[in-house]
């Protein structure tokens, strides 16, 4: 192998890379917050929600979990405009990530809720709490605590999956890498660098979520 590696382009390409990193971080922050919120709402529907809504949520979850993120993204960005719903690349990317994470986190949170003993609901009711109050204060928080590691992994997976949004020209880190390598013709080095950045982001995000779990659930699990 007589290939000579060249990383000289790195300095002049730094602004482009940094912008890409910023967009990727922005995407995952918005995606995580709204995605988990959507997941909680769906988990509530499946556990205690109105009967007619349950099959709707179940279908949504199954559809999303059994199709590739790329196709969901294409469907939202290219398919929905036929129905008159148009949006920018970034909005489409954000929406796709929220919808995707919403379905996965719904399943994860539901598992946490199912692990809650039946007596907890009854105890909540006997304290004159409304079903919603019981759900929020008694069921949800311990459930989230129980499944926090799984939820964190899923958020990291969605972050890594977001590399795909470059395909609809949302200007994330992968888009930046594609742009840079089309200029410097150093495809391998460019992708190595961006892969390492993704790795660092994944490790950072994992630590951040672990820290957040520490802050949100200071009490020891009551099991």
């Amino acid at each position: 192998m007589t290939y000579h590696f060249d990383f000289g382009w790195l300095i002049e390409s730094l602004p482009v890379l940094l912008k890409g990193i910023r967009i990727t971080v922005q995407l995952i922050l918005i995606g995580a917050v709204f995605g988990v919120a959507l997941g909680i709402a769906c988990a509530w529907v499946r556990a205690l929600g109105p009967k007619w809504l349950k099959p709707v949520v179940a279908t949504y979850v199954e559809l999303i979990r059994n199709t590739p993120f790329l196709i969901q993204l294409f469907f939202i960005f290219f398919g929905l405009p036929s129905l008159g719903i148009r949006m920018s690349e970034l909005s489409a990317a954000n929406l796709a990530m929220i919808v995707n994470l919403g379905a996965y986190s719904c399943e994860i949170i539901r598992a946490g809720i199912q692990a809650t003993p039946r007596g907890q609901f009854e105890a909540g009711a006997s304290l004159a709490m409304t079903p919603f109050q019981t759900f929020w204060h008694v069921v949800l928080v311990p459930a989230l605590q129980r499944i926090w590691p799984a939820l964190s992994s899923q958020i990291v997976i969605v972050m890594l999956g977001s590399a795909v949004v470059s395909q609809i020209a949302a200007e994330d880190l992968t888009f930046a890498a594609n742009f840079i390598q089309s200029r410097n013709f150093r495809a391998f080095e460019t992708y190595i660098v961006s892969t390492l950045i993704y790795l660092a982001l994944a490790i950072l995000l994992r630590q951040l979520l672990a820290g957040l779990g520490w802050m949100l659930f200071p009490r020891k699990a009551s099991r």
Binding site: M1, E62, L63, T67, F69, L70, F78, G79, Q167, F188
Partner: protein, 219 residues
């Protein structure tokens, strides 16, 4: 302008879906073999082997599959080989699948009680014998549902190979869209075909889990 009927679209997508199925099978089987090797290193006695395997798994689980595909595509080219898209796709998907399967299976092996290792060691068995006769037969039962469940991720992962130019279901979707200008129908159908491939796998994983759990409770 040529008119495309619904049947034209569906037929072309279904023809391309064969490649999705084939690529999934290759990745899953190849990934299973590499993953098994990783598993043996990961839980074996040698410290360096454990570290190596752990580093591999973290690297592949901590980076996007898309980047791995790009690196396989352009990296193999550095050796002077003209890399066809299918080769890069197979290599990247096998390595990616291996990392996840090794980690899943490690959890299964570790769920086997420690006493089983000690008992088999006290019978004078070596590491490979312990694995072959005592640990793996038990771990296999635990491993089946999550492994089937992960196969769904593999099928979905193959969609990314369209980006490096491998013509499977997703790429066919883009091509057909460009010809017909009916993205809603085409991507809707593509999604439904993926669903038809993945949903039975998801469901059987859930069923297996329930079935094997019942077996557990009876112990």
């Amino acid at each position: 302008m040529i008119e495309f009927s619904f049947w034209d679209i569906l037929r072309n997508l279904l023809l391309a879906a064969r490649w999705t199925v084939l690529l999934s099978l290759v990745s899953f089987i190849g990934g299973g073999m590499v993953g098994a090797a990783l598993l043996f290193l990961r839980i074996g006695g040698q410290r360096w082997a454990r570290l190596l395997s752990r580093g591999y798994i973290q690297l592949f689980q901590g980076t996007p599959l898309l980047m791995q595909l790009f690196l396989a595509f352009f990296g193999l080219g550095l050796f002077g080989i003209d890399v066809p898209a299918w080769l890069a796709a197979c290599v990247a998907l096998i390595l990616w699948t291996a990392a996840f399967l090794a980690e899943i299976w490690r959890g299964c092996v570790e769920s086997i009680a420690k006493g089983q290792w000690e008992v088999s060691a006290s019978l004078g068995m070596g590491y490979l014998q312990q694995m072959r006769y005592v640990i793996l037969p038990q771990a296999l039962k635990v491993a089946v549902p999550p492994t089937v469940g992960f196969s769904v991720q593999v099928v979905k992962g193959t969609a990314l190979t369209s980006i490096i130019g491998f013509v499977e279901l997703s790429k066919a979707g883009s091509i057909v869209t460009n010809a017909t200008f009916q993205p809603f129908t085409v991507y809707g159908l593509v999604a439904l075909i993926y669903f038809a491939l993945c949903w039975p796998l998801s469901k059987s994983s859930q069923l297996l889990e329930r079935k094997l759990n019942v077996a557990h409770r009876n112990h």
